[in-house]
Symmetry: C2
DNA sequence: CTTATATACATAATTCACTTATGTATTAGT
DNA sequence: ACTAATACATAAGTGAATTATGTATATAAG
C-alpha cells in the first residue's frame, strides 16, 4: 500500500483516465479495476470516491446513467466532451510533475 | 507551477534527498536549490518548509548547526545516520508510487 | 539616504482533499 | 442462517499543506 499522502491530488486524474480508457463504468467497478491495475497498492475509499465522482459530474466533466440490475442500482459514469479535454490536461500535468520530481531527486524513472 | 495537491506527501522526501546529495544546507538555500532543480516549478513555502525541518530534527533524522554570518543567523541542517536510512526508504517509496501510477494511467514515464 | 528587494528565520490561522466511521440495501456463497 | 461481497451515500475528523503575519539583516538602485 502506498502512503495515502502521495495519493493526494491524483484521485481525479485516476478516475478520469480509467473512464477514458474503459468507457462507462460504475463506482465500485472503478475501485476494483484500480485495485487490479495497481497490484493492490491503490485501494480507493468510498469516502473519497463518491464525493469526487459527484463533484466531477456537477462540474460537467462526467455524465451518469442509472441502470437497475434486478433490485440493485448501478450508476454508470462516462466522460463528457469537457471531461475528455480535462483528462489530457490532468495526465499531462501528472507526467510533468513526475519528471520534475525525477530532476529534483536526481533519479531515473524507468 | 505544479498543482500544490500533487506536491503533498513529497516534501519530506525532497528535503531529505537534497540534504543527502548536497551535505549540510540551510532552509533558504534549500528553497533556492529546489527552485533551480525544478525549473521554477516547485517553490517551497516557508510555512511548510520550517515546520517540516523542525519535525525531522525532533524525530532525529536531521541535526542542526547554527552559524552566524555577520549579524545574520543561519541554521544548517544535515542528515543523521537514521536520516540516511530514511532517505532511501522515502525515495524508493516514491519511485514505487510513480511506477504504480504509470500502470494505472497506462502511460510511459521516460 | 531611503526605499525596495532579497536573504533568513519562525509560527499561528486556515484550507481542503483525503481517511475513518456510519448507514442502507441487495446478492452470492457456505 | 450467516458472512462476505456488491453498491451506493454522507458526516465527522485528520493532517499536511497554504496563507498570513512577524522579526530582522543585507544589498542594490535611483
Amino acid at each position: 500500500m502506498h502512503s495515502p499522502e502521495l495519493l493526494k491530488g491524483t484521485l481525479q486524474t485516476i478516475l478520469l483516465k480509467v473512464l477514458k480508457d474503459n468507457g462507462r463504468m460504475y463506482g465500485y467497478e472503478i475501485t476494483q479495476l484500480v485495485k487490479e491495475l495497481s497490484a493492490e497498492r491503490i485501494l480507493l475509499t468510498e469516502g473519497a470516491l463518491y464525493p469526487t465522482l459527484h463533484k466531477l459530474e456537477a462540474e460537467g466533466m462526467l455524465k451518469t446513467e442509472v441502470v437497475t440490475i434486478g433490485k440493485r442500482v448501478r450508476k454508470y459514469y462516462s466522460l463528457t466532451p469537457e471531461g475528455r479535454s480535462l483528462v489530457k490536461e490532468r495526465v499531462n500535468e501528472l507526467i510533468a510533475f513526475i519528471k520534475t520530481m525525477g530532476n529534483v531527486l536526481q533519479v531515473e524513472l524507468n
